[in-house]
């Protein structure tokens, strides 16, 4: 077993275990922290795939900013442990069965396509490139090929931010007297 294989299996198992514990933990704060752990280990997997820039951005944006806000807000609530990890009921049961079906289909599809690709020929090896080139290629894709989509997304985020401020300030916002 070479070092690469060891690191891959270590990170893969870490990612899956922490992703599972997001769902299985009964305490919401543990769930949020497990989600942060999942994001960190996904970033580590990006590093092993030599996508350094993506790994850094994953850490800064998701693990470092978004999830910290989630955890902060969760800690302000007086949360108790849920008695059971899954709710009961016919309607939610149907949703659960449907979700399990979709997950099983995804796994079968992924394994099937992997086997088919294995039969059809040699595995696809990406061209060797330094990460500086990869960062440059990413920015060229974003700012030349998809510049309109990128700008539209920026406008959408701005609209969301303005909308949030407007909602929170309407009727006196957090200082409203009921």
């Amino acid at each position: 077993m070479t070092a690469d294989v060891f690191i891959f299996w270590f990170l893969a198992i870490l990612t899956i275990v922490s992703a599972l514990s997001v769902v299985l933990m009964t305490n919401p704060i543990y769930s949020a922290l497990s989600l942060a752990m999942t994001m960190v280990s996904v970033a580590a997997i990006f590093v092993t795939l030599q996508a350094y820039f993506l790994a850094g951005v994953q850490l800064i944006v998701y693990a470092g900013a978004v999830m910290v806000l989630f955890v902060m807000v969760l800690m302000l609530f007086d949360l108790k442990n849920e008695l059971q990890a899954f709710s009961r009921g016919k309607f939610t049961g149907a949703i659960k069965v449907g979700a399990v079906g979709i997950l099983a289909g995804l796994i079968v599809g992924a394994v099937g396509s992997f086997i088919m690709a294995g039969k059809s020929g040699a595995p696809v090896t990406p061209e060797a490139s330094t990460s500086a080139d990869a960062t440059k290629a990413l920015s060229e894709h974003l700012f030349f090929n998809h510049v309109f989509g990128f700008e539209a997304l920026g406008v959408l985020l701005l609209v969301i931010a303005v909308g949030t401020v407007a909602l929170s300030r309407s009727k006196g916002g957090t200082h409203a007297k009921h």
Binding site: I7, Y52, F53, I60, A63, G64, A65, V71, M75, T135
Partner: protein
Amino acid sequence: MTSMGSTSFEITINLIKLVLVFLMMVQAVPILVWLERRGSAFIQNRFGPNRVGPLGLLQLLADAVKFLTKEDFAPEKGNRFMFYAAPVFALIPAAIAYMAVPMSVPLKLDGHTFLIQGFEINVGIVFILGISSLAAYTILMAGWGSGSKFSLMGAMRASAQIISYELALGLSIVGVILLYGTFNLTEMVNMQQGPLTFSMFGYTVTSSYLPNWGIFYQPVGMILFFAATFAESNRLPFDLAEGEAELVAGFHTEYGGFKMLMFFIGEYGHMMIASGLMTTFFFGGYGIPGISFQEMHQIGLNLLGTETLASIFNTVVHFLSYNLKFAIFLWIFIHVRWTLPRFRYDQLMDLGWKTMLPWALANTMLTAVVIFAASYFTI
């Protein structure tokens, strides 16, 4: 390469380096604590610790023994797992981020090249920012795990402050990245070699005595970056987390003994990252003004004779140069702490969002326009 290495020799060397850089960081903390206590005493016209050993240097050893032998206690209402995990996590982001800072020219021995940094990563800045942004979790975990209102309020303040200043911190570096055109810290250091040279519109102005350091290109970026790193490492004038009058000691109110010492090491680790990055971005890294790496190698060759010894000489001299600059910034951190009073919380938020963020944005835009103009109108 940036990976762990292909042969077992390279992997072993890299692992040893990881341990060495971590030990360097941890060993620097007692010296910094001593400097902080003696320095604060000097500033406030007191003596400071001066009884144990020469100049009070053995006080650190006595402190360490005291910390180790203290009673280990945890609050009853808290969450034991989080309470014990938080101090350990406090060490990790600081230690990993400091690994990526280059500290000297590569050492060449028997055809091997040893980089004097934990590991070289091509997007060094993004990596360091990403890793050190994880520090907010440790504060939140400590505050929540303690099960005390003061701890939780302190944690909320500290993490809100860190998130707010991360924006200004990230934006203040964008100008530097635009200027050098790379994310790689070693390449940045190499670009700051030689005398100060401006080239614009086909003209080139060279200074005879100033070094080609980033501070002359990005003075506003330098000030913003340095101020934001004070906030990021939770030190005065930004140590709102530790408002003794209203919050006892912030997120580490319930901690004692070695657990509190680990938070201390984490805080000093952030100071070290900040000083290392200041040196690398704006003050020429490990370079020495007026003399290039090759010239220093030549001096070593003349002095010592063999190529190997010259390489060792070169590395050691530049390592000392890096550490001198590094120590100067650490001293500024300590001096500021004992000079300026603490901000009020609303002043802190106003400074972050309404002053530093617009200035950083303006600096980014201005730098982009100037760099575009300089490259566009030359022909």
